[in-house]
Symmetry: C2
Subunit: 585 residues, 2 copies
């Protein structure tokens, strides 16, 4: 069989010196140095240097000089060791002395430079995404994504899970985010919906007896988009029967460790299990970044009642301590005050206390507090000498949230977020319900099939606000990677739950009747979890942007600017779908 | 950690005798034999017999007797060897003497019996698909499907392919089947479409330099449904760069052999490569079932010109020979005549010739042909003694098609389609274009990016009807499992192709401009293939029905009768999607 190539552009090394090889790829650079012409030939595996010599074959060398950027070529030649080695790239020790050159395809001039460092802005690169994907820094993201998907499947397969495909054309559900909908041609006036998750179907699969289900699956949400949201996204979706919470945590801690080991060669520590209450109290956040300590301390008692009105009028005063930071300048503390006053954070101001190396204390509220008062605050906050203590106040929820942001900012400023360190943890015991002021009733935090923790089963009727859900999130370095819950499988408990949520029987029936009916035929105890796969890829790649890990992403208006979708349709199609009322003549 | 169970219901054997075990599952049968009660406990792994003894624990036995069908229970007990072994099931040598019983969930009476043999009709089983899926004969299909997907990924991964997800919300294209469309809320009056295949995107990935792509992916076609079609279906979609046809055939012959070996432990022979012309000539079909020979023979010359008007007026007369079948009765041959006259087959009649063991010949056209004439036909047809030769006539295309059906019917009647034999083959050299009488122009048989075979490159302009496409189908036992082609990557050839298809430059630009534009930036030589994954699963499972291998299929009206989708939506939602014109007040 005749093959286009013997090797790819990323694998030749001094081992192959003097070997005859055949390569295919794209012309990344073409440098005419008079007597010699050098071409960097690129494919997705790397870049190999081609050499053409005017002295030995002037015709071929002339031909090579004509090759424009991004031409597709096939070359034959001999591998030689370079005199001038480039040890930054894997193929940098060799080059190819070309003896034959075939142009497989020409190329018009690309709109930006197709190299790791490019001059193309985001918009241009998205419009020509197929060229952007040629850049090795981008294409490597999809090698990573492939590996993660592959290893996920290997692990779950070897743990006895079955991957089962659930339908994409389903039925719209009233709760949750907005559905994308699909008009039916064969059923006039009716619509399918695209799934926001396979939640209902995976629970049905448990009713069917598939005790370990997973799927790496596209999900759809018609929401207004933020930078890190996409209308279509991918989940690792899982569900298990005859399991407790701890069975599930153990399984997916195992999966996460497997992925880190196989894909990044990182041995993760055992996962800390932290309650939601503890996370909120100490980090102001249900997805704390615990790569650094800097816990939030309640200093209300120490600060209040000394005549400083701002604190006296506050429900809650709290502090964090930045170690080795007494040297912060006025300009730096002013910048922190500006930071917390940004509308996204919304604090009214910030107080700071410098605890100097010599034991002296300097604060922005020296007028109101004696050194002794401040020392008590510092003691409570756990401040050592040469530290900077930052204080926020207000109502408890907002102050904790603002302090969480300030804490993360300080972590960045002090380089405490080591990119090589991974701190995985389970957050558990979330509130089951939250009070909604508008509708004056309790709402399910997750969904109404989430079970309370076993210890709180009996509190549902009288004290729903205090009940903890048997729900869990996987958090790594401040990023929520996955979440799930043990579901309610008991009819009586489900009735109580609906009652607590203020549903009438009819409402419950209308919205959830189908699944409840299926449950009547013998639902096993079950629970599950879903991982945001795009987010997981971004975390493994070390970035925040999920878009870099989606081959053809949409922009913030939900548009694919490359193919220019969505687009208008002609009226014939709309009429066939019963979307156009025929105008009276 | 407390576990719900120590074993599943399919794994206990005499090895575990006297062991304490804990099982969970569904009550499949409950037999009260007076002193003893036996329960068949089912999960997706199998069925285990539970024993309750009135003498040793009457309370527990009473409790067991109350368990209805499909109750979910947990039991603890000891494994004992059965005196009365059932060697038909893997757990048939043991039973569990139960000491503890916990009802995890009750169940109302199911609408049909949830056992391998069920009394539920298709409609009922589809409505309660979650119960149908509990039957082991059904759930095993999804174990098979999982294995096939898993092994496909392993093979392609180890061959250097990357699985890359292409978008689901794309743009409608004018050619091909009807798209499902999705109205955009954020872009009023505009629509996404769901992909009929990732064709455009996989070709773009080749332009991007991903030289080996695959994806197991959902595709969507809004067509009127037949029994073996689904509006959403799954493809193993693949594309490669810098490859010839033979590279692709080798790779996917390798995949197919791998799947048969790993999943069915069948060693496939090397794949026969057969041209389309040869297949049509000899089997009347481009997906021949070659488990049995019975080739179609052209007997026009032998039959025509003897005064039998039916044959004399026919363009084409052809025969097949059924060996060892001279004993066919009049009733049987009449039934065959009825068979070929069915409107789906459309022959006007059928002639038969019996070649008896004693050398005598008896035919339905003895009036018109001498024994000598018939002997010449039999010789041409390759008939031996004790055979039945069947003859059809008419215009060539329809007659070959009808004869193909008759051949398959004879294969079935004579038990020549051995279900344990697999005859995989590549059909190649399909026609590139076909003449469309309506529009009086050539149409692409596959799509307009399919390349001619290298030898026919120069015939495109003058003689398009004779050009062979560089396309290939994988056929096993008469079923088309996959197909693909080498694509055109050369701009000049593409222009010629559009010209041959009668497209103006403007039309070509409007319909395919986007992909053609991308190709201008350096498209590599490339080609690909797609396997119908649902069909592949059905073939491995030994059935024709893809529906059995889809967890939640739709019926022939495109409805999911279980969740009752599609469904109506309220006007608020439609208004938000710009689908409702507001009525003037």
């Amino acid at each position: 069989m005749l093959n286009y190539r013997s090797h790819n552009c990323g694998e030749l090394s001094p081992k192959e010196v003097n070997k005859k090889v055949k390569l295919c790829g794209w012309v990344q650079r073409n440098r005419d140095l008079g007597g010699m012409t050098f071409i960097d030939l690129r494919d997705r595996y790397g870049v190999t240097q081609l050499v053409f010599n005017m002295d030995t074959d002037s015709e071929l060398c002339e031909q090579a000089r004509q090759l424009g950027r991004e031409y597709v070529v096939q070359v034959e030649g001999e591998v030689k060791e370079r005199s001038n080695k480039n040890l930054k790239i894997p193929t940098g020790e060799i080059e190819i002395i070309v003896s034959e050159l075939t142009v497989l395809n020409s190329a018009i001039v690309p709109p930006f430079i197709v190299e790791d460092e490019t001059d193309g802005g985001e918009d241009l690169r998205m419009k020509y995404r197929y060229l952007d994907l040629r850049r090795n820094v981008v294409s490597q993201n999809f090698v990573l994504r492939h590996q993660l998907a592959q290893e996920t499947r290997k692990y779950l397969d070897s743990s006895g899970f079955l991957e089962i495909e659930t339908p994409v054309l389903i039925k719209s559900t009233p709760e949750g985010a907005r559905d994308f909908i699909v008009p039916s041609r064969m059923n006039a006036g009716q619509f399918y919906a695209l799934p926001q998750s396979p939640q209902t179907f995976k629970q049905l699969l448990m009713v069917s007896g598939f005790d370990k289900y997973f799927q790496i699956v596209k999900c759809f949400r018609d929401e207004d988009l933020r930078a890190d949201r996409q209308p279509e996204f991918t989940q690792i979706d899982c569900e298990m029967s005859f399991v407790t919470r701890d069975n599930i945590l153990e399984t997916f801690e195992g999966l996460t460790k497997h992925l880190f080991k196989k894909v990044k060669n990182v041995e993760l520590p055992n996962f800390e299990v932290m309650t939601y209450a503890h996370a909120m109290e100490n980090y102001g956040n249900d997805k704390p970044d615990v790569r650094f300590d800097m816990k939030i301390k309640d200093v209300s008692a120490e600060f209040k009642g000394k005549g400083f009105k701002v604190f006296d009028d506050s429900e809650f005063v709290c502090a964090i301590v930045a170690e080795n930071s007494a040297g912060y300048t006025r300009k730096q503390t002013d910048a922190l005050i500006e930071f917390v006053k940004r509308p996204q954070i919304g604090a009214k101001g910030m107080v700071y206390i410098k605890y100097n190396e010599d034991g002296s204390i300097k604060s922005s509220v020296d007028k109101f507090y004696s050194q002794d008062d401040l020392l008590k605050v510092l003691e409570k906050a756990g401040a050592e000498k040469n530290s900077l203590t930052l204080v926020l106040s207000g109502d408890k929820d907002h102050t904790l949230a603002a302090m969480s942001e300030l804490r993360l900012e300080m972590g960045s400023q002090l380089n405490l977020k080591d990119s090589e360190t991974y701190c995985p943890m389970w957050i558990v015991d979330f509130p089951l319900v939250e009070w909604d002021e508008d509708s004056q009733r309790w709402h399910a935090m997750h969904h109404p099939f989430t079970s309370p923790i076993p210890e709180h089963m009996n509190m549902l009727q009288d004290n729903p606000g205090e009940v903890c859900a048997n729900a869990y999130d996987l958090v790594i370095n401040g990023v929520e990677i996955g979440g799930g819950s043990i579901r309610i499988h008991d009819k009586e408990l489900q009735k109580q739950m609906f009652k607590a949520l203020g549903f009438t029987d009819e409402e419950a029936q209308e919205q959830f009747g189908f699944l409840m009916h299926a449950f009547e035929y013998g639902a096993p105890p079950h629970g599950g979890i879903a991982f945001g796969f795009d987010r997981l890829c971004a975390m493994f790649g070390g970035t925040d942007s999920i878009r870099d890990y989606i081959a053809f992403p949409k922009n913030n208006s939900g548009r694919d600017v490359m193919i220019d979708a969505p687009a208008t349709l002609n009226n014939e199609i709309l009429e066939e779908l019963h979307l156009l009322k025929k105008e009276p003549i």
